[in-house]
């Protein structure tokens, strides 16, 4: 298994206001899979993504990513983990507005040990001709493609996508998902997509349902279709 969560627990508040964002959650994901995590708002999806991405610490339990057990990691080790192994794609792209497309990608390649070639990644994402544009000069879909390029430039072992189509129209969403699929195939990157759009789950190798901080279902998608066939 590439990702293993054992009794992962994260609590917020105390006393009567105590909330379990993750409540003894267990799950496993294979290397190279596209995994879609579904669940209603407040179910713990974002908390789970924070934990997988090394952005936060668990209160109890373990997270094992590849050969790393994140549970005992201090902040500097988590930083190292994010730098080497994880790529993030966010709903609102989070590009640095003062940098061009190519420069936004260089922000990551600059600190990576073995980054991919920026030109190749831009070409793969169909953004080569926009390399000198600034984020504000791009559409939402284009910005999200830049965000994906930025995430994969380091050739991460794990790609985490948080509601990556949440701010996009249907056409752009589909294009972005096609690129995710393409990256997955091209680099065998384990990809975790958090969404509440159930249609996206059809392109996943694995579908996980989460509710009230607990994993309700973790199954292999036997009826997987390609992103281009999705009806969003």
């Amino acid at each position: 298994m590439f990702i293993t969560l054992k009794n992962a627990t994260k609590k917020y508040g105390e006393g009567e206001s105590l909330v379990y964002a993750l409540d003894h959650a267990n799950l496993e994901i294979e290397k190279g899979e596209i995994c879609v995590i579904l669940g209603p708002s407040g179910s713990g999806k974002s908390t789970l993504l924070n934990m997988l991405g090394g952005l936060d610490h668990l209160d109890e339990g373990e997270i094992i990513i590849g050969e790393r057990n994140l549970s005992g990691y201090k902040n500097n080790k988590l930083t190292e983990y994010r730098k080497e192994d994880v790529g993030f794609v966010f709903q609102f792209y989070n590009l640095i507005p003062d940098l061009t497309v190519a420069e936004n990608i260089e922000v990551v390649s600059d600190i990576s040990k073995n980054p991919l070639n920026v030109d190749e990644v831009l070409e793969a994402m169909g953004m080569e001709k926009y390399r000198y544009r600034f984020p504000k000069e791009l559409s939402g879909g284009q910005q999200q493609r830049v965000a994906i390029a930025r995430a994969i430039i380091k050739n991460p072992k794990l790609l985490l996508c948080d509601e990556l189509t949440g701010a996009l129209d249907t056409k752009s969403s589909k294009t972005v998902l096609e690129f995710i699929e393409k990256i997955n195939k091209l680099y065998n990157t384990t990809t975790v997509i958090i969404t509440h759009n159930e249609a996206i789950a059809q392109m996943a190798d694995r579908i996980i349902y989460i509710k009230d901080g607990k994993v309700q279902e973790n199954r292999i998608n036997t009826e997987k279709i390609s992103a281009s066939e999705l009806e969003l």
């Binding site: 952005l55 500097n76 260089e106 990551v108 600190i111 000198y132 939402g140 910005q143």
Partner: protein, 740 residues
């Protein structure tokens, strides 16, 4: 307005901005207050003390004595107050007591502690000497062979700066003091020195002086303005006042601009909220009112605290600055009007800045505000270096600097202000020191200048004899007139272009005299003989490069003619070695070392003020840089958060975000240098009116280094404090971010 509930929460979350802006406001106002209050207090004390104690308008001595009856006649004829001042200098065990006979009308003494003398074995002494030597009331002091009991301490208006001799350059409270005994005891002591004190009631000084000279032969005449014992007090007051206005011209204005820019940026950073509130139906007036509330905090609190601190520290500061004078009872108080202005002006300025910013924002489309895109359509510099292959870090830094001019300006201003204040302090000290070391030599290459009390023919004592006298212009401003030859080895006079001049060509004035009297080559001047008031008209042949002496040079013939003496006669001898001239033949010995000592003393007098300036400069530097870089961090929270998510370590983020301003450090420092030179020169021109010397602004290389180190420490200290702020930025902000 419910919206105002945000105040406490918002202020709490931006506490560092409010604290540092308030500190900046406090410091600049405080600095101005300290200097201005000290200056005003000295003025007020001086004016009051001089008035109540009937300070002389001039003192003089004559070759023939003036009797009491003649004094009364002169008073009546010329509407003056005239009084003889008898005194005796008595040296006992190396300490000189100048015992005065009491005067009744002019230069009245004031008993500041204890009581006046009543018995013949009682004495009152000058307070500065008592304080310095820790003498208490009731102690015994011996003059000659008689011991007196000290019943009181006093001050005289013409001895607030305790010079033993008029030609001395520095106070003496270690081996010299003034004293009064009873009239009966004074007769017993037998004072044989006499000078005359005069107060004019009408504008008839010239007639009076001419009459004195015609009937009693004037020996010396020193006006109140030329008496350093009196004028030093006025100079000190003027010095503080002048510095306060230099500070006023640069500091509060700059700080207000700085804080206004920051407020403007803060309002802009809330454009989404402003857009939302507008969409919810909030009117412009309510929003302006709301943001004005935030903006008034640094102005209001800054003004109030500056006034409070000034009220607490003005008195001790003023007293420390006057340590070289007799203990003056100055009252350093903040004038109510000044306090109100200090509170109201910055507050109003900050509030207006907030109102202006909100108003400007509300002219934009609400949709743009809601999306945080109020700057859409504005010119930006992002496109610079787009196709250049240099690192994204350099591009980011340059766009951050050039694309955010107001933020860059704030950082630059902070560095500039800190450098300016600290360097200004060093500049004052270095200028005095440089004058002492180098400019004094412009006076000539002699080491000794003997002023004789006789006229000599030839050179009976060796050295180089010259003719010298003190003259006045019609306004009573005094200057020296020196008659010598072109071959005088101690005076190789050059004009301002560096060419040698020949005194046979006419009358040359020094560059300082040209400035003080606003006279140029070819102008005509009226010279008045200080003792006889006889007038001469001369034409200025040229300007000599000499900012050390307020003097006019010509050949012996011309000067002898003005002084009505033979041109072979001299009254001053210059020499590079000490000459063997009997003491009885010398009125005064001027050593070049004494002139240097004078500048050392002036430098010493400035020490307190200078170190105060340097300290305040450091605080202003830290506070303003903290405000500016704090703004930088606040405006880059999303980027910082994102960089953290991407795996950047805190120190790497600091390099990208915080260190972009490093380039501004040398720029701000370098920009302050010309203004420091301009300010110092302006101050020295002002000072030249009092001391008759125009020191040239100079900053020693070490002072540049000290200031640079100070500013660097302040700058990097501020960045160090803000690194915590960077490390506190939460990564999750990126995940929740809502940017387009």
């Amino acid at each position: 307005m419910k919206l105002n509930k945000r105040y406490s929460r918002s202020i709490k979350s931006n506490l560092s901005f409010y604290v540092s802006s308030t500190i900046l406001t406090i410091m600049t106002l405080f600095l101005f207050f300290m200097m201005n209050i000290a200056g005003s207090a000295i003025w007020e004390f001086g004016d009051d003390f001089f008035e109540t104690q009937n300070l002389e308008h001039a003192n003089f001595s004559t070759y023939l004595p003036i009797s009491e009856t003649e004094i009364e006649e002169l008073e009546e004829d010329y509407s003056v107050n005239l009084e003889a001042q008898y005194y005796s200098n008595i040296e006992t065990d190396g300490v000189t007591a100048r015992v005065f006979k009491k005067t009744n009308e002019i230069n009245l003494y004031s008993v500041t502690e204890g009581e006046d003398v009543a018995l013949n074995d009682e004495i009152i002494i000058s307070e500065g000497y008592a304080v310095f030597n820790k003498i208490s009331l009731g102690d015994q002091i011996t003059i000659g062979d008689k011991a007196y009991t000290i019943t009181g301490f006093f001050q005289r208006p013409d001895y607030l700066y305790m010079l033993q001799n008029e030609g001395d350059s520095y106070k003496n409270v270690t081996t010299f003091y003034l004293a009064y005994v009873t009239d009966e005891e004074y007769e017993h002591i037998g004072g044989d020195n006499c000078m005359y004190l005069v107060r004019y009631e009408e504008d008839n000084q010239a007639d009076f002086r001419k009459a004195i000279n015609e009937n009693y032969y004037m020996r010396t005449y020193i006006s109140e303005q030329e008496n350093m014992r009196i004028d030093m007090v006025k100079m000190q007051a003027e010095m503080f006042t002048a510095i306060s206005y230099i500070i006023l011209a640069v500091m509060p204005l700059s700080v207000v601009v700085l804080v206004i820019i920051v407020i403007n940026r803060k309002v802009k950073s809330e454009q989404r909220l402003i857009g939302t509130l507008t969409a919810l139906g909030y009117k412009k007036g309510k929003l302006m009112h709301h943001y004005a509330g935030f903006a008034m905090i640094p102005g209001l609190f800054g003004g109030i605290f500056a006034v409070i601190f000034a009220m607490i520290f003005a008195q001790p500061f003023g007293e420390v600055c006057l340590a070289d004078y007799e203990p003056m009872r100055i009252e350093c108080q903040v004038a109510p009007v000044a306090a109100v202005i200090a509170i109201v002006v910055p507050t109003v300025m900050y509030v207006l800045a907030a109102i202006y910013s909100v108003n400007k924002l509300l002219k934009k489309d609400t949709v743009l505000l809601l999306n945080g895109n109020s700057e859409q359509g504005e010119r930006n510099y992002k496109n610079m270096l787009v196709k250049n292959k240099i690192s994204f870090r350099i591009k980011y830094a340059m766009r951050s600097l050039i694309g955010n001019p107001s933020r860059t300006f704030v950082v630059l201003l902070g560095i500039f202000l800190g450098s300016y204040i600290a360097l200004l302090g060093y500049s004052f000290l270095d200028t005095m020191d440089n004058t002492k070391q180098n400019m004094v030599d412009k006076m000539g290459s002699f080491e000794y200048q003997y002023v004789l009390n006789e006229l000599v023919e030839g050179d009976p004592y060796g050295g180089e004899p010259v003719i010298m006298s003190t003259m006045e212009n019609r306004e009573g401003e005094q200057f020296s007139i020196i008659g010598t030859t072109d071959s005088n080895p101690y005076l190789q006079l050059k004009d301002v272009e560096g060419n040698n001049v020949s005194l046979d060509d006419g009358y040359y004035i020094t560059s300082i005299m040209a400035m003080l009297q606003d006279v140029q080559t070819g102008d005509k001047m009226i010279l008045c003989n200080q003792l006889t008031l006889e007038e001469f008209e001369i034409t200025v042949a040229g300007i000599i490069d000499n900012d050390m002496q307020n003097a006019l040079f010509s050949n012996r013939e011309n000067v002898a003619n003005i002084m009505s003496i033979d041109e072979d006669i001299s009254n001053v001898v210059m020499s590079d070695v000490e000459l063997d001239i009997p003491d009885s033949k010398i009125i005064q010995t001027i050593k070049k070392a004494d002139a240097k000592e004078q500048f050392q003393n002036m430098s010493n007098q400035m020490n307190v003020m200078v170190y105060f300036l340097i300290g305040i400069g450091a605080i202003i530097c830290v506070a303003s840089i903290y405000v500016a870089v704090n703004m930088l961090v606040s405006e880059n929270r999303s980027n910082i958060s994102m960089l953290k998510v991407l795996g950047y370590k805190d120190n790497q983020i600091n390099q990208i975000v915080l260190n972009v301003n490093h380039i501004l450090l040398p720029i701000g420092f370098l920009l302050s240098i010309p203004l420091v030179f301009a300010s110092t020169n302006w101050f020295m021109v002002f000072l030249a009116d009092f001391i008759g010397v125009l020191p040239k602004a100079y900053v020693a290389p070490m002072s540049f280094i000290y200031t640079a180190v100070l500013v660097c420490c302040s700058y990097f200290g501020s960045l160090f404090l803000l690194r915590r702020k960077v490390s506190k930025v939460d990564m999750v902000e990126s995940l929740k971010g809502n940017r387009e």
